[in-house]
């Protein structure tokens, strides 16, 4: 009896939950309304069957519960009823499948006017490439991948020279212009998902997959990776901005072409040296750092990382509220007015002799190893050298006290959450592997053994 009532209430409760739920599909931003239509058809067909079957179940439990003098009816088969139920079910299935297959036929055949762009996934970041004026993407291969050619664009392919490369997880699209995304991966499986676009597809190393859509609503949307791709899967994020054709064109024009990235003049180390004078006061003549002035060692750090952080200070992506030492850097970084100046000074710093910073932190090295090996080594490498590929700076031999400050800042949300700090949130999330200050120091103590 109770069971019958409970089953009935569960049906009613499920319906109420459905209508009261604030959790539902995001507002669609492409013209894949046909997918939403198929979902709605399926929802109502299955919803009807759910209610009908379970109400019948509750009714049977109530009506045919054990009663004195009652006896079950012996009815082994009822061919007619079974046939009707088969027909009824088949019709329901066809009602759901038929629209689904029609929509799928549209999905597998991108329209001729769809413009192509490329999505490249790697652990754990997104990058994008647009065909240049020729409208053709140059061929690419993982064999060509290097720090200066992260897309692996074939340098011999003339079609690739004018390709616009966006080495940044934020991409743009023009509204109402159908696009076909060509998907590639440099390492493992990833999945290019924008919930508001409704469509998704895996990126598979060794082949090019695709999907297409027509963005219909301007706005900025999250790109999520939805195929497990290793420990950083949950922080592999990007964004896509859908905007007017004019805004898109001007954004695209501001991005470098592949040829520009390959033929850029080398940094002017002498110019960098001249600018470094302002830095030397705190960071030391050879970038050895000075703890008393809260200046970390910078000698030996990866140049791309120095460059990126200087830009962050300039843009205000670092050194904001709560980061008093960082705020000091904002003023100095702002003295580097051009991108060239930032590149030059980073190149100059790279010429410093790399002697390990003095150790100032002690802790439980075994625990530090455990945490580092499990969570940090995937990006910063086993030897703590860091690598451009995973956007990971060098840790081994760098200032240990600075490591502790920065991890504490990530933990406190002082660093890494600014919208322009593309990979900062990865560290905010990964730093949770260190539960408290003791654990941060344990990891610092372990990193000290890597010098």
């Amino acid at each position: 009896m109770t069971l019958a009532v409970v089953i009935f209430l569960l049906v009613v409760g499920s319906i109420i939950f459905h209508f009261a739920s604030p959790w539902w599909f995001t507002d669609i931003a492409t013209d894949w309304g046909s997918i939403d239509f198929t979902i709605n058809v399926t929802f109502w067909v299955t919803g009807f069957v759910f209610v009908a079957c379970n109400v019948f179940l509750a009714y049977c439990i109530w009506k045919f519960r054990k009663k004195p003098g009652h006896k079950a009816v012996y009815e082994p088969e009822n061919t007619k009823l079974e046939a009707w139920l088969s027909v009824f079910t088949t019709v329901g299935v066809i009602a759901m499948l038929a629209p689904g297959l029609f929509v799928w036929a549209t999905f597998v055949t991108p329209p001729d006017n769809a413009l192509e762009y490329e999505v490249l996934g790697q652990q754990w970041q997104w990058q994008f490439r647009y065909p240049g004026a020729d409208g053709i993407l140059g061929t690419a291969d993982t064999g060509f991948v290097s720090e200066s050619n992260p897309f692996g664009v074939n340098p011999e392919d003339p079609n690739g020279m004018d390709d616009v490369v966006v080495n940044d997880p934020d991409m743009h699209l023009a509204v109402n212009q159908p696009v076909k995304a060509l998907l590639r991966s440099n390492d493992v499986l990833h999945n290019y998902t924008v919930p508001q676009f409704r469509v998704k597809m895996d990126l598979v190393p060794g082949l090019v997959s695709y999907l297409w859509f027509d963005p219909t609503k301007e706005g900025t949307y999250d790109i999520m990776c939805e195929e497990l791709c290793g420990i950083g899967h949950f922080v592999m994020r990007g964004s896509v901005t859908v905007e007017s054709q004019a805004a898109f064109d001007s954004w695209l024009a501001s991005q470098p072409t592949f040829a520009e990235t390959q033929n850029a003049a080398g940094p002017d180390i002498a110019a960098g040296q001249a600018q470094y004078a302002a830095c030397a006061a705190c960071h030391g003549a050879n970038g050895e750092g000075n703890q008393a002035l809260n200046a970390p060692k910078i000698a030996g750090q990866q140049p791309w990382y120095i460059e990126r952080q200087l830009n962050h200070f300039k843009q205000g992506a670092r050194g904001g509220d709560g980061d008093t030492n960082g705020a000091q850097m904002t003023a100095f970084a702002s003295m580097l007015t051009t991108d060239e100046a930032v590149r030059n000074i980073s190149a100059y710093i790279a010429t410093f002799p790399d002697n390990p910073a003095p150790t100032t932190i002690s802790g439980d090295i075994a625990n530090g190893y455990d945490i580092y090996d499990r969570n940090c080594a995937a990006c910063h490498l086993d030897n703590g050298a860091g690598v451009w590929y995973t956007d990971a700076p060098k840790l081994a031999g760098m200032s240990d006290w600075y490591f502790v400050t920065q991890i504490s800042n990530f933990r406190a949300g002082i660093r890494g959450l600014h919208a322009d700090d593309d990979y900062g949130e990865q560290m905010v999330q990964m730093a949770t592997a260190m539960g408290d200050l003791d654990e941060i120091e344990d990891v610092a103590a372990y990193i000290n053994t890597l010098r």
Binding site: S21, C60, Y74, V188, K200
Partner: protein, 596 residues
């Protein structure tokens, strides 16, 4: 050639009666002892899987609440939970546990055809579990590649447990396949060759049909997993490139070229999809028998139920790529696999209708096993219907890899089969132990488990509609996930903790009742199938005393008009003079499967 029961071919089957405690309970060749060893080990492994799930649920509901649940551990826990539950818990418990216990008893046989092989199977299973558990203790820990073990990431530096952990996982799976094959061949041969006189195929209880077809599926599906494991081991240890294209690890190219990650997915799901039915079909069978007994009514549409089981089993081999709609395989495959997948809904729906119609005009006894069986119908309807979303290729685009998928497969192949397991354990407990379980405690266990499980999984579908991705250690900051989603996650975690803890009731009940339970009647439910007609309760080694039973009717003669009782055991002969009670269906009549 007409079927001659093996029991008739050999006058007396050779029995290896045990001579010592060790032979009786450790190196036992008795299918009932082996069943309990298999089941017990599966349950112990399942407890590890359950605890892992509670740990990562704590992280999802209350981020950073457990110190050692860091991103690395989260992925390891998710992976090991999945693999343990699907393979080492559900498969082993349904086939190794219930398969072993039920097959000889329900067929009127003294034991399995190959008792020694049967013993080897359970000990090989133990080895596979030990290897699996060893991965928790090696450097780098167990693999965190997701239970699907998709290459290339499985063996690459960015994945937890990419060195020793994954190798142990692959070896353990390979050993498991060996154990399964030894057991599986045994079940199949026993079902085909060892039925007692009169037990034609179309008189077998649906439990046996479920176990039989599931085992056949396993014998075809597990080899795909085995070769996938071996090929992946070759890639890792010998440097072959079956599944490995040219890839970059931490900025440097690895020495692989030309392999296909999607090939692995095909092999994995060629195993993985039938695996769903390897778990589901025995559950379908067991629940049919529980429903029929406690409703005091024959199972409705027995022949259609049998054909549905066979149809589902056959179709399950041509739907695997519906797990791969967004894998980057040729998208044109989507048309074929969406169609086959939705076709499978028809026989599955017919089974649900027939369970409902079994209750119709029944005389329903609401005992604890019946509670669980009815709970199963509810969760299975829900889980089955959400499968129609994911199977319809175009709806899979927004929902794939979201919490909708997690909610769907947990309801349909987690909660539903587990409710059947509880129904079956309570239902057959009196025969297995000779004691009754505690009814009040069993019902409390039901309410918490059933309502709690629904509280976990109903809301989870809605996270999926919203687009929240699965396998995320933390949601981080996004524009489309509102803060309320985190609150929902917290409530799901609370429900999970309650349900997880409530399982203690089950263990107290079944262990405590061994000692304090009321002595059970040999056939307390008034069941017609053969296992309730044994001369001893619990059945002794050899099951049937001096003489094997003879079967005269199907297993579902309940409430036959004119019969003195509301059930007629399968081994009750037809009377010499026809009487009203004999005017019942003979499912064997006019059946193509008769006399095979």
């Amino acid at each position: 050639m007409a079927y001659v029961p093996l029991a008739d071919q050999d006058q007396e089957m050779e029995m290896h009666h045990p001579h010592s405690w060790v032979e009786k309970y450790v190196w036992s060749q008795d299918h009932k002892v082996i069943a309990i060893q298999y089941g017990g080990l599966a349950v112990l492994t399942g407890i590890v899987g359950l605890v892992l799930s509670l740990l990562f649920r704590l992280q999802l509901g209350f981020p950073e609440s457990v110190d050692f649940v860091d991103p690395n551990f989260y992925y390891q826990a998710v992976t090991m939970h999945g693999m343990i539950m699907v393979v080492y818990f559900l498969t082993a418990l349904f086939l190794g546990g219930f398969g072993n216990y039920m097959v000889p008893l329900m067929l009127g046989a003294r034991d399995m055809v190959f008792p020694f092989l049967n013993m080897m199977s359970v000990w090989t299973f133990l080895i596979s579990v030990i290897i699996l558990m060893a991965s928790f203790f090696v450097g780098g820990g167990p693999t965190g590649a997701g239970w699907t073990l998709y290459p290339p990431q499985t063996t690459m530096a960015g994945t937890p447990g990419h060195d020793a952990g994954i190798i142990l996982m692959l070896v353990s799976l390979a050993v498991f396949v060996v154990a399964f094959t030894m057991g599986g061949l045994n079940y199949v041969v026993t079902i085909l060759q060892y039925r007692c006189r009169g037990m034609t195929l179309m008189r077998m209880p649906l439990t046996i049909w479920g176990i039989f077809v599931a085992t056949v599926l396993g014998l075809f599906a597990f080899p795909a997993l085995l070769v996938a494991c071996i090929m992946m081991m070759f890639d890792t240890l010998l440097g072959t490139s079956f599944f490995m294209p040219a890839v970059i690890e931490s900025g440097s190219p690895l020495d692989y070229e030309g392999g296909s990650p999607i090939l692995f997915q095909h092999l994995f799901w060629f195993f993985g999809h039938p695996e769903v039915y390897i778990v589901a079909l025995p559950a379908f069978g067991l629940v049919s028998d529980v429903l029929s007994v406690h409703a005091r009514k024959n199972i409705f549409g027995y022949r259609m139920m049998v054909w549905a089981i066979i149809a589902i089993g056959g179709l399950s081999f041509i739907v695997w790529a519906h797990h791969m709609y967004v894998s980057g395989m040729n998208p044109y495959f989507g048309f074929f696999f969406a169609t086959t997948t939705l076709i499978i809904a028809v026989p599955t729906a017919l089974k649900v209708y027939n369970w409902l119609l079994t209750l119709w005009e029944g005389d329903i006894r609401l005992n604890a096993p019946m509670y669980f069986a009815i709970g199963f119908i509810f969760t299975f309807i829900h889980g089955g219907l959400t499968g129609l979303f994911l199977g319809n290729v175009v709806i899979d685009l927004p929902l794939s890899d979201t919490y909708f998928v997690v909610a769907h497969f947990h309801l349909v192949m987690g909660v539903s089969p587990i409710l059947v397991l509880f129904a079956a354990i309570y239902h057959w407990y009196p025969k297995l132990s000779g004691r009754m379980y505690n009814e009040t405690m069993a019902k409390a266990h039901f309410w918490i488990t059933f309502l709690g499980a629904y509280a976990i999984y109903l809301p989870m579908h809605y996270l999926g509609f919203l687009g929240v991705p699965r396998r995320y250690y933390a949601l981080g900051s996004t524009d489309f996930i509102p803060a309320s989603a985190q609150e929902l996650n917290s409530s799901i975690t609370i429900a999970a903790l309650i349900v997880g803890t409530a399982q203690i009731l089950f263990f107290i009940n079944i262990i405590g009742s061994l000692k304090w339970g009321k002595k059970a009647d040999p056939n307390p439910w008034g069941a017609a199938s053969l296992e309730w007609q044994t001369p001893d309760t619990p059945p002794k080694h050899g099951n049937w005393g001096d003489e094997l039973p003879t079967v005269y009717r199907w297993a579902y003669d309940y409430s036959v008009p004119g019969a003195p009782e509301d059930f007629i055991p399968q081994n009750t002969p037809e009377r010499v003079t026809p009487a009203a009670s004999d005017e019942h269906i003979d499912t064997d009549k006019d059946s193509t499967l008769a006399d095979v």
